[in-house]
């Protein structure tokens, strides 16, 4: 069905289509509309699911862990401080190999209180063993959430997936949305190690130094296998529903001398900047990074690269810029912009490209190169 919806509504609709057995969530701005809409669907009977109104995000993820291990598809949504509050359980979910799908509406961290977009919240969960995808449109929020269930539950993966979208700028924007009937694109939930009193096991017992690392390696093995699974699922999604996605969304990159790498809505707005730059004769392209874990292989050889980081790792640099630098060897121009919802327009992005200084870092608005 073709309609218009906010990013949050699109996600609630994707969850309704995926039919999880249990949803456990706690409200937090700017994610709240997702859980409100889901509660509405559950109450009206449009979604036959159990909604657990937990008392905290730590409990939200703990309840998802119990439910997922208990043998049903499970979903939660959070943001910012909520994500950080569940940090312990986020690690647990991945270690327990549970295909939980969580939407994180990216938001800055206090103090001071700030409810606007930033990616530092998600990046602080970087090493937990979760797959992470960042979306740029309402439609993509819907599509990625649907695909997340399929990818997470694939037996070659069995790891949780976090779908990230920018607070307010995507969670609250209204755009067109085509909803689909997923049919058998999402098969019934099957967890090989679901709890079964007929086959009693102890889950996550004391595991000594001679054994523990083997299970850590298995997470990494699955994370590597996940690249192929993601590609497969995205290809099948394109065949069935006509919309294709990849590890990056490349725009006018083929002959580009300079490529802008950004994530989320800034990555989408960068395409407008690219058009402007092309009009001026600057051969620019945009590469919107979608998958952050597993981190994709990027072909950036022989180009200048401008990375916009809506995040920061203090004492180190922009997380995306440094990931790209270590993975590809290129020395990007690293712009730190959009923190806490800082307004960044396509004109600003075009300026970043015009004034690029490869190898350097620039905090937008601070007007200092470092």
């Amino acid at each position: 069905m073709l309609t218009i919806a906010t990013g949050n509504k699109a996600i609630a609709d994707a969850v309704k289509a995926a039919k999880p057995g249990v949803i456990a969530a706690y409200p937090i701005t700017p994610q709240t509309e997702i859980v409100e809409q889901i509660a509405e669907y559950v109450t009206s009977g449009e979604l036959e699911s159990r909604y657990i109104p937990v008392e905290s995000e730590h409990s939200a993820m703990a309840a998802c862990i119990g439910a997922s291990a208990g043998g049903v598809r499970t979903f939660t949504a959070t943001s910012s401080h909520g994500l950080l509050y569940m940090h312990e359980m986020i690690h647990w979910a991945a270690g327990a190999r549970l295909p939980i799908v969580m939407v994180n509406v990216n938001r800055a961290l206090g103090p001071g209180w700030n409810t606007w977009a930033e990616h530092t919240d998600a990046f602080s969960q970087r090493d937990t063993g979760w797959l992470q995808v960042f979306v740029g449109t309402v439609q993509e929020a819907y599509d990625a959430t649907l695909m997340a269930f399929r990818i997470a539950e694939d037996e070659r993966v069995l790891l949780p997936v976090m779908v990230n979208l920018d607070g307010f700028s995507l969670s609250h924007i209204t755009q067109s949305l085509e909803t689909v009937d997923p049919g058998d694109f999402i098969p019934p939930y099957h967890l090989p190690h679901a709890i079964d009193p007929e086959n009693p096991c102890v889950y996550g017992p004391m595991t000594g130094p001679d054994e523990y690392y083997k299970f850590r390696w298995d997470i990494e093995r699955s994370m590597r296998d996940a690249r192929g699974v993601i590609e497969e699922v995205e290809r099948e999604f394109a065949e069935r529903f006509g919309r294709s996605y990849g590890p990056t969304e490349d725009y006018r990159c083929e002959d580009a001398d300079v490529v802008v790498v950004a994530m989320g809505t800034l990555g989408k707005e960068a395409e407008v900047a690219v058009d402007r730059l092309r009009d001026e004769g600057i051969k620019a392209g945009s590469m919107r990074l979608r998958w952050f874990r597993p981190f994709p292989d990027l072909d950036l050889a022989g180009r200048e690269v401008v990375v916009i980081d809506r995040d920061y790792s203090f004492g180190f640099g922009g997380v995306v810029a440094h990931s790209i630098k270590s993975k590809t060897g290129v020395e990007p121009y690293n712009v730190i912009a959009g923190l806490g919802g800082q307004e960044v327009t396509y004109n600003d992005i075009a300026d970043f490209v015009r004034n690029r200084r490869p190898g350097e870092e620039m905090w937008f608005g601070v007007s200092e190169h470092v």
Binding site: H172, I173, E269, T345, Y346
Partner: protein, 175 residues
């Protein structure tokens, strides 16, 4: 691309108005986005929402700094907010007011949305509903079509008085 900036107070329905306009434009076969700017403010504080309409997919998420149209749902805001800031030289203004207001450069339209809402008894929790009649005014201005305005209103609201209010605003709009 046609860009609209809506000024209202929290609780007056500016955010829903933006969604309704985008939906009507979408039903006209255009691409449209509606994007509220949320401050930390509460009910009663000035708020601003944005609508973009285009024939091509819209990739811009930042705020509208140079609007083609400024809608003011509550003219008392004009004392505290420079609603005309950045308005394009040939831009237009739509005021919720029974009479014209001095100081608006360029084309300034006005219509008494509050009066229309009260006449139809469209009041929720003490506040007259302005977001459905405003769609009628925009239809008159040619930004959306009247049939799509009706469709959009019916998709979001079940009360037919909203359509009547839009039709009244369509009739009463004055430049």
């Amino acid at each position: 691309m046609y860009e609209i900036r809506i000024h209202s107070r929290g609780g007056q329905g500016g955010v829903t108005a933006a969604k309704l306009i985008a939906l009507a434009a979408f039903r006209d076969g255009k691409h449209a986005t509606a994007c509220p700017f949320y401050g930390a403010e509460r009910r009663g504080a000035p708020v601003v929402s944005f609508v973009r309409i285009d024939d091509e997919p819209i990739k811009i998420y930042s705020q509208i700094h140079e609007p083609d149209l400024v809608i003011v749902l509550d003219t008392s805001i004009m004392d505290v907010v420079d609603v005309l800031q950045g308005l394009k030289p040939n831009g237009e203004v739509l005021l919720n007011s029974p009479h014209p207001i001095a100081g608006c450069n360029g084309t300034c339209h006005h219509v008494d949305l509050t009066g229309i809402a009260l006449a139809e008894n469209l009041v929720v929790a003490g506040s007259p509903i302005l977001n459905t009649p405003v769609l009628g005014a925009l239809a008159k201005m040619g930004i959306v079509t009247l049939p799509s305005a009706r469709t959009a209103i019916r998709e979001m609201f079940s009360d037919e008085r909203n359509v009547k209010a839009a039709e009244a605003a369509y009739e009463e709009l004055k430049a």
